[in-house]
């Protein structure tokens, strides 16, 4: 993947490295070491600073993960609405634990804090798209959208 080409539109944007990282993650769901080094060169900052930015934000990952990132909100309103049952159901359905990715590289399972859809708790998002009032029965149909 040509990281510099993906990030080029943000090169002249002051402070644009975060937008550039978003652009890369749109293509491949996480930030490789090469991508971080390319960003450091493009924005003319030390590699350690680019790495520092990549590791500060929860939505950036420096470890490989599945293509479709499933996030489960576990903030208090979702917690009392039964987020734990959703977690158990997702783990069962995908055969992996929270923080892991499926062996076929299709899905990653992550915790999230409130995603701002609390009128319909519990909530999950897949690649940023929210699904509200989730329960164990609804999960297979939701996942099927990403087959």
């Amino acid at each position: 993947m040509d990281y510099k080409e993906i990030m080029a539109p943000y090169q002249d944007l002051p402070g644009g490295i975060i937008e550039a990282f978003h652009a890369i993650q749109k293509e491949q769901s996480y930030l490789t070491e090469d991508a971080i080094i390319a960003a450091a060169e493009l924005f003319e900052i030390p590699v350690k600073d680019a790495y520092g930015v990549a590791t500060f934000y929860s939505y950036f990952s420096v470890n490989s993960r599945g293509r479709n990132v499933i996030r489960i909100c576990e903030s208090a309103p979702c917690h009392i609405a039964g987020a734990n049952e959703v977690i158990a159901a997702l783990e069962k359905e995908l055969g992996i634990k929270m923080g892991e990715s499926t062996p076929d590289g299709k899905f990653a399972l992550e915790f999230a804090e409130c995603v701002g859809q609390c009128q319909a708790t519990p909530v999950i998002t897949i690649n940023g798209k929210p699904y509200g009032d989730v329960n164990a029965e609804k999960i297979p149909a939701i996942l099927a959208e990403y087959e």
Binding site: P14, G15, G16, I17, I18, E19, F21, H22, F43, D49, G52, V53, F56, Y57, S58, Y59, F60, E74, S75, A76, P77, H79, I80, A81, A112, E113, C114, V115, G116, Q117, C118, Q119, A120, T121, T125, G128, K129
Partner: protein
Amino acid sequence: MAEEMRVVLRNYGKIDPLKIEDYINAGGYQALEKARSMSQTDVIEEVRKSGLRGRGGAGFNAGQKWNFAFQAQADQKYVICNADEGEPGTYKDRTIMQGDPHSVLEGMAICGYAIGASKGYIYCRGEYPYVVDLLNQAIDQAREKGVLGDFDIEVRMGAGAYVCGEETALIESIEGHRGEPRFKPPYPPVSGLWGKPTIVNNVETLASVPVILEKGGDWYAGLGAASYPGTKVLTLTGDVVNKTVIEVPTNTTICEVIYDFGGGIAGGKAFKAVQIGGTSGAFIPESLLDTQIDFDSMSAAGASLGSGAVLVMDETRDIVDVVCRIAKFFEHESCGKCAPCREGTMRLHKLMNKLNAGEGSAADIALLNKLGRVMSVACLCGLGQAAPSPVLTTIKHFQPDYNAKLQ
């Protein structure tokens, strides 16, 4: 059901947010035109006189803040709309932006004119990529129509860090850095984005501005509570019948919010507690439900209005378990810049875990009390200062819940 008072949400559900014509037909962008026919100081005075105080949590008088930035001498100034909305249980800024994005753009442009800034940023949280798209469409339409004049607005997206809602951390993030809060002073109106005078205002604050210009500061000052006038947009979550967004005058009581607007406790159960202001807010017992939601009444009751999230819990809820979950949130979201918060949030969580597992003692509760008091004064930013609030207020108001879990 009691009547809402829709000021910020005046166009919500009535116009197509993606049609600027709808907004203009509803009187939109006339306030900006009016502002531009006034002197900068007159605009600031109108906003100051309205008594509008920041809806992002700190409650600072908006006009007064603008005046600091107006008086600062600089070749460039900035307006930032804080759309980070990270406080769990809060979705009011999303509702405002999705329902009526131009009201936010217009508020920003009025602020820009008043302080002498030609550039604005909207910092929208990474959880809302669909709102970013919508805002960009609205900005394109406004540019095409030429309504913003020489004021330019750019949207930047966060990436999942609660602390980036803190205004100086937010500024660091726009600059492309880790979102760690800065030491203050200097405050942003004097030295903010790239060292330039910067106004950071919440979405709801900015969306209130056009209507204040249109109807006058005196009109707004007459709504709701005298010391924190206007309306507040609240989001109801948890064990309440109507899990919804409402806008009410600031002299509404918590009881009215839960029972008149929220329809009471779901499933016919009894009330136990309500946490207002998001996850950093106090837990409020039944005895305080007659408190008005305005900033000062809430402070006097040892609580805070914060973002306006209202998390209702019924009699079956395990308070210690909920607070334990909240403590995990703060451990995760602490940016680590200062030791009292970096270590303190970790200790709070460990102690809460111990208590929640039924392995704690009275000495642990005493330790939590002491640690919480130290953190609320020793931490660098509001995250660490407010993190102990749910712990301290539940120990105070819900002691039996803790006692029931002691070894």
